[in-house]
């Protein structure tokens, strides 16, 4: 299987479309016959990243590369950045505004979920410039 490459634009504050990239990737992986547990891991990881870009960063871009044995995802935004990544990674830490809390977000579990369900994850962020999250999920 050659490597497959997909790009998605995520618009800010558009909850009606948030989740589109993750459900599209989920369907693609399923069709390729990737194991259900790996599909679930990848779908959760992208969804949480996608929602974070919508809520915290005013949107961004997702690029995905699927290889025979893994999926690599890169989520790039030009939002406010994360000042303290260690703090943001803590379970329960959230700066989500009330308006999105009332939609069920703001448990402060998105980044911990991404860490838990991906096999590799790195975040680079600069305050005022944006955030890039890279994740890999291996198929086994």
């Amino acid at each position: 299987m050659p490597s497959l490459h997909y790009e998605y634009q995520v618009s800010g504050d558009d909850f009606t479309r948030a989740g589109e990239a993750s459900s599209d990737i989920k369907n693609k992986l399923k069709q390729m016959g990737v194991s259900p547990s790996a599909v679930r891991k990848a779908a959760i990881a992208i969804y949480e990243g996608e929602i974070n870009m919508v809520i915290h960063a005013g949107g961004g871009a997702i690029s995905v590369e699927i290889l025979p044995d893994q999926i690599a995802m890169e989520l790039i935004d030009h939002g406010p950045g994360i000042a303290d990544i260690g703090l943001a990674m803590q379970e329960g830490y959230s700066t989500a505004p009330d308006a999105v809390r009332s939609l069920g977000f703001g448990a402060g579990m998105g980044l911990p979920n991404m860490k838990k369900y991906s096999d590799e994850m790195t975040i680079t962020s600069r305050v005022g410039e944006g955030t890039t999250v890279s994740m890999v999920v291996r198929f086994e």
């Binding site: 909850f15 948030a18 459900s23 259900p36 679930r40 959760i44 977000f105 448990a107 579990m109």
Partner: protein
Amino acid sequence: MKIQELIDKTRFTVINAGSDTGRNISKPYCCDLLSIAMSSAPADGIWFTVMANLNTLAVAALTDTACVVLCQNTALDENALKKARTEGITVLATELPVFDAALLAYEQLNAADASIPADESQTCRNPETTCDA
């Protein structure tokens, strides 16, 4: 137990039947915070929540939840209903609070597990039939 049998037994209101009411339900799950549900909702589960919006359905789809039950008469807006339809997600509703609704489903799921052989349980599918014996 299949979704349709559970609907028959519990009389939960059908908001959207979904693409497969013959699907088997694994277990009940209750949560209203999406990223917690995202990591813990069991595959093929029946998810009880008062959080009725588009994102609930996105999480349900991604976690392979069999069926969502909106409790205490929470309602989907037009967008969310559209998503339920296009993704074929089974969405039910009840006026019961989350615990009571989940308990009702739990009891029905257990009762179905206990009834052997499986074929005979078909005779009790009609909720009008008393099958206490």
